[in-house]
């Protein structure tokens, strides 16, 4: 009985240690998933947002990107193939939040591939955007390239992906 108790104790302690390790030192994939989920949360907004809240959210959103981000976006009514700095991203995000009535963004399926050196990664994901006043959500497959800069995973490239070629 004593041996069984000891074995159970050791197993429990080992499990606790593994759990603590994953909490204190999460793997890059988990960190990236958390950041992208946070990005979706910040990108969402309601119609009754104040100007101050808009600006704070736009700045916060820009903080997820590197100083220079490459965009390769092709949507039915919007196309952009250039790069933007953080200020431009803040301005664009602020403009969108000012004009649109509300937006709810979700990244329901995220696949992250981390390069072996653990300094860059690619996230292939589905963007589901519910625009206030529109009946059907906009669904688009996208690819984000991320790099670890100063200890933080920042988006360096954003591109749309054609699900059916």
């Amino acid at each position: 009985m004593k041996i069984v108790f000891r074995i159970v104790l050791v197993v429990a302690l080992a499990a606790l240690g593994v759990w603590l390790w994953t909490v204190l030192f999460p793997n890059p994939e988990k960190v990236i998933r958390q950041r992208l989920t946070e990005l979706a949360r910040i990108a969402s907004f309601s119609s009754n947002e104040s100007d101050l809240a808009r600006l704070a959210a736009a700045r916060s959103l820009a903080g997820f990107f590197s100083t220079n981000v490459e965009f390769q976006v092709e949507l039915p009514e919007f196309a952009r193939r250039d790069s933007m700095d953080r200020n431009e991203i803040t301005q664009a995000a602020f403009a969108v939040r000012s004009r649109a009535g509300g937006l709810k963004v979700k990244f329901p399926d995220i696949n992250v591939t981390v390069v072996p050196d653990k300094q860059s990664a690619v996230a292939d994901l589905t963007v589901e955007a519910n625009i206030s006043g529109e009946r059907d959500p906009m669904v688009q497959e996208m690819k984000f390239t991320l790099q670890k800069i100063d200890g933080r995973w920042l988006i360096t490239r954003v591109e749309t992906v054609r699900t059916l070629s």
Partner: protein, 199 residues
Amino acid sequence: MAQDQAGQSNAGWKQPRLPRWVRIAVIGRNPKVTLVRVAILIVTSFVVFKFILLPAHVEGISMLPNYKDRSWNLVNRFAYLWHEPRRGDVVGIRFSRAVTNTPAGIHQAANWLEPPHVMLLKRIVGLPGETVAFVDGHVLINGEVLDEPYEKYACDWNLPPKELGPDEYFVVGDNRSMSWEEHTFGRAQRSQIVGKAIL
């Protein structure tokens, strides 16, 4: 005296019992067995609807009139375990495919354990190796007109021939009355096909 009376009335009080047939109908003859059955039912439902038959809420009009907007369907992930997708099958197609560098086996296992939350619902018209084209709204497979009894709305789409690779299927919605620019269709990789719609 008062205490005695209270004690007597407490001892004499009985919880009202439900009629026997109600108890049998609600919790069964043996509550323990019922509990086990409920647990099995919950676990089975979870496994079936999480990993095998994926509930799909149809949003949009691209599959009209056969699959109505806001209707529900189920996508059977076991449909293609023993045979490959066939022409005319309505399939669920995953959006995000993993651009992973993990081995194929692990990749497939991960796909199985994490089914997609968002899918496209489309019909297969072209099979691997075939050439698909649209001429005056008709689908041409290797130059021959495809009979499509499910297509109810006429269209005038014209698209140049596309040759499918060894692992590619050509999928399109049933509602061709939409302009082709607004319609999502084209080549899908086999790995993107999640399963077959069963309703």
